[in-house]
Symmetry: C2
Subunit: 195 residues, 2 copies
């Protein structure tokens, strides 16, 4: 869940790199925003102009990420199997080159383990859920605020984050494979649980 691999030595990118590095080595709560700003060569005030909260610096250009997901879902159009489409879209949006994987791991490790970032993530996930729920609504003709679209959005997102956690816990594994496994279980209604 990040931006492209464009090296781009913009101030924004420097902030993001400094944030990941500092937070990963010393913990999110132990590094004041001032220090990240210093490391990136800007003032604290400017830091908060680039990223509205300290947590946002970890997420990079997440808006573009959501927009990309939205584009893929809209492109898939209705009529195709919904869960499979969502899974494929998640996989494609999170398909990074080998060079970018370490950064992705660092980012996701922070987001999944640091409590403050874990909390913040809910707000970001809500953006994803909105986009996914709209796709389900388009596919089924329901109201995006109805139970089914919301439920599909929330549980596919649960599948995605679980896949991320599993990928993170296993150094050798492939993210796409974990996503497929998780979505497979979900789509099957969890067979083997005895219901």
């Amino acid at each position: 869940m990040t931006t492209t691999s464009a090296p781009a030595d913009t101030a924004r990118a420097r902030v993001e790199r400094a944030a990941l590095e500092l937070f990963a080595s010393r913990g999110f709560d132990s590094v004041p925003a001032d220090e990240v700003a210093d490391a990136a060569g800007i003032s604290r005030r400017t830091f908060f102009r680039y990223y509205p909260t300290k947590a946002d610096a970890v997420w990079g250009d997440f808006g573009a990420h959501v927009a990309r997901l939205d584009g893929l879902l809209r492109a898939a159009g209705p009529g195709r199997p919904v869960l499979a489409t969502i899974c494929a879209a998640y996989a494609e949006v999170n398909d990074y080159g080998d060079a970018d994987l370490p950064v992705l791991r660092q980012r996701m490790r922070l987001i999944l383990t640091e409590p403050a970032l874990q909390a913040h993530s809910q707000l970001r996930y809500a953006e994803i859920d909105r986009v996914v729920a709209e796709h389900v609504a388009r596919s089924t003709g329901e109201d995006p605020a109805g139970l089914l679209p919301r439920l599909v959005a929330a549980s596919t997102r649960a599948a995605a984050t679980t896949a991320f956690a599993a990928w993170l816990a296993d150094d050798g594994s492939d993210l796409g494979r974990q996503l497929n496994r998780a979505f497979g279980e979900l789509a099957g209604g969890f067979p083997g649980l005895g219901d």
Copy 2:
């Protein structure tokens, strides 16, 4: 998701009531902790001894809630259908008398709509997920940190919060019924989506 109906005019309970009332009427961010403390007749310092964060005041005694869920799941024991057990446990833990429903609505409306509380909720949900994942692990003999237990915990929780949202949006509806609907869809693997 709250404590029992015990009226209990303890300072803790007064804080909780004042918090719900003030936050509901003026918004979570617009009410400083000082004011909640004042309204409950205690100092700001003492407020933060009762509740470690301002957000926690909204949740009441959530630890007891989680403990109750854990107890129900352990009591159900392995061998029973897992999703059905989880659904029943969620339903039972959230089965309030008519007198307490308005408070529950107020609480859940805050948690589901106020961004700061939405973010904070993730930390609370993590406690639930832990308990549910352990139950799945007991039932299947897997590692609680494995993909399936985590996935079941995350997606059942997604079902539960979605059910809450639907219940909240529809004044007349019954929470238990919404939970059953959501869990039914989940357990069926979302038929009718064309996968």
